[in-house]
Symmetry: C2
Subunit: 267 residues, 2 copies
């Protein structure tokens, strides 16, 4: 199958791709955008190929991009060549990258997670900021976590901002979405320590008795975790707060805690 | 001095305040916006009052807001009452908070910093994301850092996004801006260990020989620190990277490192 060229701003494909920036359309179509050769390469190395590859005319040739294009063609996917302006229109950014992939969303149910596959899992409750969510995915990759479990009404992990902030980890970390009740039921059917990053009565995070698989739970950016959620956790830990503020950025709290848990497992 | 009312979208004060969302105007005027009662309260408790206070009609009365208004009036500042729609126009957000302060920017030179006043200082080099910058300020507050030193061309700490992400720490942490050469010259005139969060040859961050005052340096989001910058650091440390990615989010790296340094000083 050859490349096809799109040169018109009002082309229906352009409109359909552009609509994927909007969550409602993304969910209806079950597809999302990932921009840039680096993300696409991360995806490929994680076994994920775009169903549609969009490339800018006049881009610099690159062997990795050629490899992705060959794979997409071999898999029966769509390869589109278009102008940099139309790419910018699709992504909504002035300086769009020269390449864009459209991926099918996937949905990992809790049941599909192998909790024994990793010592650390990150869990976010009602996390609203897609940048924070992407940063948690990136941190999860760094500490060797198995994945990120999204509880209650979180930001969309497939939004452009989350995908970008994840630096490719959206393709490598498992992602599951569940209600609190579903998560608790699943968690208690097997091994697993649930650790809350807490502002309330809690033990110091440093040297706390972590146990694998350890599920590190952080709450909403403004409200933190509901008290009744914290109450059923196996361990509530807190970080020193030396200044005027009473909390850390949620993604920062998750990272400080995750690196402490990792260090305790490696000690 | 009484409150004055502004009811027209085309009022020159509205235009002038709205223009402060733009960096160029902010720098020309030396003023910036901080939104919401919480930020204004943090500012007041840190000894900083807005020169202009803008409040929405129909807001809920609040004793803290009344106290800020009284202070602003006593200090000869301007108090404006306007419609929620005009407040939204100024901030560019659909759901603007009911109160907004306009603050004079301040400029802490390196010479004004008392390096002995804190055991930890954060240093950012060419950090481009204002959210990361604000998050570093917030983390600095949490670990009891003295402040944040911005090297080379960083995002503006007085941008709306940085102010918001700092959660008030923009008012409590010292902020200095300098070139790399200026910073090095200043640093070497006194006590101070310069520690780079490094991707290159480095010792494990855990248990490294940190010494106070410790200056924790993180680099640009895409490029990290220049090799020649790292070369003159006293210590290069690295965090475990268990996954595919080779780096952490800059604000996350600074936080993980800062909490390790804090723990080593308190051990």
């Amino acid at each position: 199958m050859a490349r096809r060229a799109i040169t018109g701003f009002s082309n229906p494909t352009v409109k359909a791709l552009r609509a994927l920036r909007d969550k409602k359309h993304r969910k209806r179509e079950g597809r999302f955008l990932a921009e840039g050769l680096r993300l696409l390469t991360d995806a490929r190395e994680s076994g994920r190929l775009p169903q549609t590859l969009v490339m800018a005319e006049g881009r610099d040739p690159h062997p990795l991009l050629a490899a992705i294009e060959a794979d997409v063609q071999a898999g029966g996917g769509d390869v589109i060549e278009t102008t940099p302006d139309i790419l910018s229109k699709i992504t909504g950014k002035d300086n769009a990258q020269a390449v864009l992939g459209v991926f099918d969303e996937w949905n990992t149910s809790l049941e599909a997670l192998d909790r024994e596959a990793a010592q650390i899992w990150l869990v976010a409750q009602a996390l609203r900021d897609p940048g924070n969510l992407g940063t948690m995915l990136r941190t999860g990759d760094a500490v060797g976590a198995g994945g990120l479990i999204l509880i209650d009404d979180c930001a969309d992990p497939f939004s452009a901002e989350a995908v970008r902030a994840s630096m490719g980890a959206v393709f490598t970390q498992a992602i599951a979405q569940a209600t609190w009740a579903e998560f608790l039921l699943w968690l208690r059917t097997g091994k697993g320590q649930l650790v809350a990053a807490s502002l309330r009565e809690a033990v110091p995070y440093r040297g706390a008795p972590y146990a694998a698989p350890c599920f590190i739970l952080v709450g909403n950016e403004s409200r933190g975790l509901p008290a009744d959620y914290e109450a059923v956790c196996d361990l509530r830990v807190t970080m020193p707060m030396k200044g005027r503020a009473d909390s850390l950025n949620a993604a920062v709290a998750a990272a400080v805690l995750a690196y402490e848990v990792l260090a305790s497992f490696e000690a």
